[in-house]
Amino acid sequence: MTIELHDAGLRHGKVRALEAVSLHIAKGERVAIIGPSGAGKSSLLHLMATAIQPSAGRLELFGEQPWALSARARQRLRSRIGLVHQAPPLPPRQRVVTAVLAGRLGQWGTLQGLLNLVYPTDIPGARDVLAELGLAEKLFVQCGQLSGGQLQRVGIARVLYQRPDVLLTDEPVSAMDPVLADHSLALLNRHAQANGVTLVASLHAVDLALAHFPRVIGIREGEVVFDSPAEQVTEQMLDALYANEQLASRPEQGPTLAVQIPRC
């Protein structure tokens, strides 16, 4: 098993983000996570990426428990995991080429990392991954000059350049037009299939999730609602997943007391 979660829970202060999530994802699997806003999709991905520590339960990656390892060993483990953020955190003044090459900082030594700032060490490598996403001409542009969708593609390019064993993507195409979103997801899936990479993506668009991913996990209010092959996901399952009491027009009942879980 590449990713295992055993009763993993996560709390931000008093707010419950995830509750007793148990998941097994095998090497090379391609999984989409869907669910309403604030359901805990991002939290789940950040948990798998070792970006946050579970407040309950256990996480195993490649058969190791990252939070039981030493800091150095955990950094080595982390270099095998790539996380694409919904809004890629890139300094506006950084050039695209540097942002992409930074994907391999976990594999490079400190010296090579610093030399790469003086002169980019692998311009062809960065150009290749950007070309696949249609951004080759932006190689030497500053990140601050790109649109949200272009930034998302730079974030994807960085992870493709990193060549991780586990590729986690948090709403990777939310700022792209439908054609580009479809192309980018197909590219991620092709890359995962060709290299035996485990791919997990959270998505807002249910149709994209069903079209591109063999396995779909639905989560709601921090709990797994269903976990099934894409072809077995029915209309009723989706209706139950996205049912929204707060938007339903029943004003005579007064204010609802549902807990608001902020997006994280």
Partner: protein, 273 residues
């Protein structure tokens, strides 16, 4: 339940009142009274001294003297800053929470141990800047004798404390997410700093450094009064001789230096912003 009023309004109001309540007695205690400037006797004194300012001294011999003193002041400030940077850069990296591995996976909060380990570094920085440079200069004039060396050492010590503290805070104040994302992808801390923090912090760091260099020029002037050479020593001599014209020339030289620093800062910020 959503509250109708801004929850931050009351604390803000109280803080403003507290600041006023603290500042008002300070004004009383410092016995600030601008009226003394307008008393007839003092007005006459100022007028006689100031009337000697025009025209500023410009004979060849004095200009040469002024040129050498200006160069010495610049050299003292620049050398002092260079030494200060040697100490300030590593200590700011050690003191800053921005490079904490634990903070990267805990939403920016560092662990207890990392906070404890940063305390001695912060303590060192506080010690370095707690003694004013003029006091260090007096000590070093005793130790290494009259001359610019005392000024260089005094600036190096005090300014390393100031630069280290402010650099550490600049590193913490910029967007931490790029560095955290890199740390979460297995990068080392130094490379995470150079790829994630520095690009956002560099303009602020450069502008503050140039401003401090400007301050170092002024400080080296002040230290000249206690025998550390440069323009300060020159202005001290001229004032004692009531040579208003010379004082005016030296003040013009100050103005030129600060203008230069300002232009440099503006140029560098323009390039980096």
């Amino acid at each position: 339940m959503a509250r109708a009023r801004d929850p931050a309004a009351l604390p803000r109001l109280l803080l403003t009142l507290l600041a006023v309540a603290l500042l008002w007695p300070g004004l009383q205690l410092s016995e600030l009274n601008p009226g003394v400037l307008l008393q007839a006797e003092n007005r006459k004194q100022i007028a006689t001294f100031a009337s000697a300012f025009w025209p500023p001294a410009h004979d060849a011999e004095f200009i040469k003297l002024l040129y050498e003193a200006t160069l010495q002041t610049l050299a003292v400030a620049t050398a002092g800053m260079a030494f200060a940077l040697v100490l300030a850069i590593p200590t700011s990296l050690l003191a800053s929470r921005a490079l904490s591995l634990r903070a990267a996976s805990r939403g920016g909060r560092a662990g207890v141990w990392s906070r404890l380990l940063r305390m001695p570094v912060r303590g060192l920085l506080i010690f370095l800047r707690s003694v004013p440079e003029i006091v260090w200069a007096l000590l070093f004039v005793r130790a290494v004798g009259l001359g610019p060396t005392a000024g260089v050492l005094a600036i190096a010590i005090t300014y390393s404390g100031m630069l280290g503290k402010v650099y550490a805070e600049i590193f913490e104040s910029v967007d931490q997410r790029p560095a955290h994302a890199l740390l979460q992808a297995g990068s080392g801390r130094l490379t995470a700093f150079f790829y994630g923090i520095l690009p956002s912090a560099v303009a602020e760091v450069v502008s503050y450094t140039v401003y401090r260099w400007e301050c170092a020029i002024r400080a080296s002037v002040v230290m000249g009064f206690v025998g550390a050479g440069g323009l300060g020593q020159q202005i001290d001599l001229s004032m004692r001789m009531f040579a208003g014209a010379e004082v005016a020339s030296i003040l013009l030289a100050f103005f030129g230096l600060v203008l230069l620093a300002d232009l440099l800062s503006r140029f560098l910020r323009g390039r980096l912003a």
